[in-house]
Structure formats: structure tokens, C-alpha cells
Symmetry: C2
Subunit: 368 residues, 2 copies
């Protein structure tokens, strides 16, 4: 399958590298303003891609609404499949683009637009085909989660951490979309649309971000064993949807509270299969590009005979003594944290030496 | 796509019900020893299925090694696709069955064989195609997790809870496969084989179950803020694999510790995309059947144009006042748990009345 790639930023570059390992995919032409030395044909004219009858699939990674919308529309009309990571665009033109893909009998996918590298939208659509999804909910914005995590961990002020996140590249120069919850809301729209076969519009969904949270708010929660997380949530209610983005309190021991930094955690609730949760890196070049690639592979796939058609090898099992020491390490590691200093030292010394005999005496039950 | 269904137990029945909602799938013939009144053709002879040129796909849900192996082999040789939930069989004849599928140019899938309704094997194979997976690890057996969870929660003895699990249908009359870790080990073999393109054999993998755990072991862990979980783990190490099944200690606040009852939680670690975790119901008719159905749909799919081709509706947003009360409820709910009785009463009263004015005064920051 021959690909026209639009854009060569962090995700575009990672996608290009990943695609080289896939026999089924070739990036034939790259749309770029300046030479990139990729080895494939490079052009600054989209016409070179849309008019090329040998290009089957357009991967859009330039971001922004225009000209991405015009490019994607033209590609679909030219009966080329389209894969994009552009949540703002898909969200803004959801009904138009889905219809255009259907009318032209080609595929449109945007799994990387929500959840970074997590197979969230693809899993969601898989469940939606065979069960009634009642709600979707989760931590879908890495920037706000990073800021909230650090506010919680370090007792630092919002403004200070935002500046730091900007310096580290976790937040944009204009952070409005992230910190006011608009980015999470777009991902919620895509999730809810797939979950409920709906056509929600961003502007209809109430959205409360984190820009007004203070050190005192964080401290108030901490005193009560609670943690603030920015949650995007949509629930089917008859012929309507309850949907919003809002900071929410979780007990410190819940999976949500322990989702730190730029990680995402997102769950679906379905009538027959119950709750399923997915977590992983919600942003970054490799994770995002991996979902773009997965979409391309899904489109390119004629049925593989097994999950993978790669040859498999009878790898030997070699535990390097690990099974015998796994229990010991498990015990020792937490003993170090939990016991008195004397106990900890003893346990730690034993673990470090991997002295089975000595540690065996410490084990809670005599399995080995 | 016409299906020959083998078996009509809990999963078979659920699968049959789910398949009726799928226009692309029809169960044409059911293999069953006694009449089931399903409306499709019912037979007690597999020949009626394997010799029927109109059946494209055989779904094997009878379990056990024989005659399931002979049936599946014959179906693949007759160039019919095969979907199964039979981990014991796939594990025992992995290389033979994968090769048979490849030689005959048909599909073999077994996503329901590990993780019940969680899209684990399918997600794993998806990541394995584009990244180097370094480890797979998780809670993959619901029976042992139920027993360990209840031992932890109720301070009850292993034997007592095993008997209870048997009564509730969570454990077999002969519980050996579950409690000695063999079931988890089979799921580990399938996971590791897909993750590492390997051909591991169950009998090579060390396996420690939970049958010798005592109330004292659980108490010992609890005193230290720890929880026992039966973990199956495989890690790629050069040209070998470190793999085992073993009870493991986790701090009480980790996602593993909070995976209770018959739930599963399983993670992959990959070089470029990092860690991804998946959780949900690890067993049960509907969840397991949903993964069987997903495999069938994947095989039946010619590319859909969007994730779903179902028509979408512009559902209205109706939050039933929930956004305004979400923060209040969030606050109130945990206040009830965390505060003194007097505080709790006050907060609870305010929440129950959904008296915005009164609660607003309690809120940590004045957002609304």
C-alpha cells in the first residue's frame, strides 16, 4: 500500500521510521515545506499526492483545521483512504468526513486522536459493534494530568508548573486548549460518538479546566486522602447524553489517582461485558505514531492467517534463577519499605546476596 | 459469513445470541448432543459442518483437547476459518494449528482464550507488529484472584473459599488447573508466543499456584500494607525468555492489588510505546463470547469505511444538572468517608438536597 504522508513533525518522523519496518506499507511521497532527506519523493504541493493514482492512503499529520480539512476531503473524494491523528479537525467536521468516506467507499481512521498510543478508539468501536455502551470516562489529557500530578506531588503552584511544562514541551506556548479542558473535550466527543453512534458537538458540552486550581485546593484534597484529576465523561441516558469535562476527586488508592505524569487512563462501561479499562502513554511521538501505523495496517490487511504471520521460534525458557528469587525479591523489596530499619537492612542484605537459604527463613510460607 | 458452531454451553449460548445482532454473521449449523431449539440446523455429527461448502467459519466452544483438536484441524484443512476460546487446546498444539491455518490460507483466532472479554491478545499482536515487546505480565486467572481477594477481604481459609467458589461456579469441581496456576500458565504461553513470536511449551515454565497459601500468609502481607496476587510473567531476554507463574506481593494501593474478584489485569511493556495495561472481566459468558464474536467480525470484515458503519444521530446533551452537582457529589461522597461524623452529616445533607448554595460554601474553590 503506497502512502502519501502530510507533515514531518515529531509524529510524522516517528511514523515514517515505523513504516519502514512494514512490508505492506511504503511512504511514496512526503508533503513538506522544506527538504527532509527522507529518501522518498518530497513535495510542497498536495496536488502531487492527491493526483497520484498509485497512492492508496493519505496520512495527515500536519495538524490544525485548515488546510488539513481541504486535504483530507480531497483525498477521500479521490478515493484514497485517510488516517489522521488530528482530533480538532475530526471533531469539527465529524459528520462531513464520515459521510465523505462512506460515499467514496474508502476508510477513515483516527485512533491516535484520543489516548495517544492506547488502542482506545479501536477497542471502543469493537465493543460498540456488539454491546450497548453505557458510559465512557477517563483521564484523556496528558498536559493537565502532568500539572495536577506535580501540584499534588510537590505542592507547587499552577502557574509555576505550567511554565515548567511549557519548558519541557508538555504544554504548548498557548496552553488554552489543554488547561481549559478543550483537548479532553474533543477526545470525549470522538469517544462518545463512536460509543453511542452519536454526532455530538464540542460546543454543547460543559467544560471546566484546571486553570483556576490553587495549592490550597490540592492541599484540601490531600488532607482527606483525595487526589484531583481532570475527568472527561459521557453517559448515555435514553435519547440524550450526559457529557462534561470537570476536575474530580478520587481516593488516593484508585487507579485514576495513580495515573501520573502524561499517562492516560480511560474506561468504557457496557451492559453485557461490564467495565474495561485501558492505560498507557497518552502522547509522544512513538506512541502516537504507533496508533497511526496500526490504523494503516488495519486498512492494508487482507486477513492474516494468524495474529501475526511472522515466523515463530522455539525460544528456550531461561529464568536466570528468577523464579527462586522472585518471591524473595518481592518480599525483600517491600520489607525494605515497610519494616523497621533493622529488619529492612537484614532483608535487603539477604536479597542483594540472593542468599536463598537465609531468605527462605524469612519467607511467609515454605513453597520452595 | 456462515458459521458452524460447536458447543452450546454458557459461552456458546451467549455467542449465538450476540451473533443474531450481526448482519455479517449467521450461525447456520450447531453441533450439539441434544436438541436446543435454536432455530438453526442442529446436528450431532461434525461431518455435517466440515462437509458443508456453505460454512466459511467454525467456532469451537466445546472445550477440552479431544475431539476439539481433530475438529479444528479438519476445519482448517477444509479451508474454513476457525475461532476458538480453548486455551488448553491452542496451547498444546500451537505450532501445528498455526501452520495448518497458514498452509490452508485461512484464519485462526483465539482472543477469548486469554483475558475473557479483554481485547488482550488482539491488542498484543497489534503492538507486536510494530514494536519490540519486552515483557507481558498480569493477573490472568479469575478463580485464584477471587479466592485471594476473598482471603484478603474476609480473613477466611483457602479451603473454605475454594468450596465457596465451587458452589458459586467460579471454580471447577476439579480445581487443579486454576489453583495450581496451570490455566494462567496457558494464557501466559499464548501471550508470550504472540508477544515474542515464540513457540513456548507449558511444561517448560515453572508454575507456583496458591493451593498452599494460608490465612497467616495473607495476614503477614496485610500487616505490611501488601496484597498477594497470582502473577504470570514473561520477559524477553536476548534469545531466551524468562517466564513463570508465581504469587507476588503488591502494595495495597497498586492497580494489581485493587483488581478483585474474577477481574483480570494484564500489561505489556514495549520499547517504543512503553507500558500499556488492560483490565476487565476475565471470564463469564458475555465477556468471553464478545471476544469470540470480535474475532469472527475481524475475519468477516472487508474494510469498513469508518469505525462503525452504523448511522449516527445528533443526540442532544442533557446533563440533568449533573455538571453543577458533579463537584458537589464528588466532594460530598468523600467527605462522608473522610470527615468527622458531624462534618459528614452536614456534607451528606447538603448533597442529598443538591442545595447548590449551601454546598458552594463547602467547595474548595469557587469555580461555578
Amino acid at each position: 500500500m503506497q502512502i502519501g504522508l502530510l507533515g514531518y513533525g515529531t509524529v510524522g518522523k516517528a511514523f515514517h521510521a515505523l513504516s519502514k519496518e512494514q512490508p505492506a506499507l511504503t511512504v511514496k511521497t512526503l508533503l513538506t515545506r522544506r527538504p527532509r532527506g527522507t529518501g522518498c519523493r518530497e513535495t510542497d504541493s498536495f496536488a502531487d499526492i492527491v493526483n497520484d493514482p498509485n497512492i492508496d492512503l493519505v496520512v495527515e499529520l500536519i495538524g490544525g483545521i485548515h488546510p488539513a480539512y481541504e486535504y483530507i476531503s480531497a483525498a477521500l473524494r479521490a478515493k484514497k483512504h485517510v488516517v489522521t491523528a488530528n482530533k480538532a479537525l475530526i471533531c469539527a467536521y465529524y459528520p462531513e468526513l464520515v459521510q465523505l468516506a462512506q460515499e467514496n467507499g474508502v476508510c477513515l481512521r483516527c485512533t491516535a486522536a484520543a489516548g495517544g498510543g492506547i488502542p482506545w478508539l479501536s477497542s471502543l468501536s469493537r465493543v460498540a459493534r456488539m454491546d450497548r455502551i453505557t458510559a465512557v470516562e477517563g483521564i484523556l489529557n496528558g498536559t493537565t494530568n502532568y500539572i495536577l500530578s506535580e501540584m499534588t506531588a510537590r505542592n507547587a503552584a499552577y502557574g509555576e508548573l505550567l511554565a515548567e511544562a511549557q519548558k519541557l514541551g508538555y504544554a504548548e506556548a498557548d496552553p488554552t486548549d489543554d488547561v481549559e479542558g478543550y483537548d479532553a473535550r474533543r477526545k470525549l466527543v470522538l469517544s462518545a460518538n463512536l460509543a453511542f453512534s452519536a454526532l455530538l458537538r464540542e460546543q454543547d458540552i460543559p467544560c471546566i479546566g484546571i486553570s483556576r486550581m490553587t495549592v490550597a485546593d490540592i492541599a484540601w484534597a490531600r488532607e482527606r486522602g483525595l487526589v484531583w484529576k481532570l475527568i472527561a465523561r459521557a453517559e448515555r441516558r435514553g435519547d440524550a447524553v450526559s457529557a462534561f469535562v470537570c476536575p474530580t476527586l478520587f481516593p488516593a488508592s484508585t487507579p485514576e489517582s495513580q495515573t501520573n505524569g502524561s499517562a492516560n487512563l480511560v474506561s468504557l462501561y457496557a451492559e453485557r461485558i461490564g467495565k474495561q479499562s485501558f492505560s498507557g502513554a497518552g502522547a509522544g511521538g512513538w506512541p502516537t505514531a504507533s496508533n497511526v501505523l496500526a490504523d494503516c495496517l488495519e486498512i492494508a490487511d487482507s486477513s492474516r492467517s494468524f495474529y501475526s504471520d511472522r515466523p515463530a521460534a522455539p525460544l528456550p525458557i531461561d529464568n536466570h534463577g528468577e523464579v527462586k528469587t522472585w518471591l524473595f525479591r518481592s518480599y525483600g523489596r517491600y520489607a525494605v519499605r515497610q519494616e523497621t530499619a533493622a529488619d529492612a537492612f537484614e532483608a535487603y542484605a539477604a536479597v542483594s546476596e540472593i542468599d536463598s537459604g537465609a531468605l527462605l527463613a524469612h519467607l511467609p510460607w515454605g513453597m520452595l
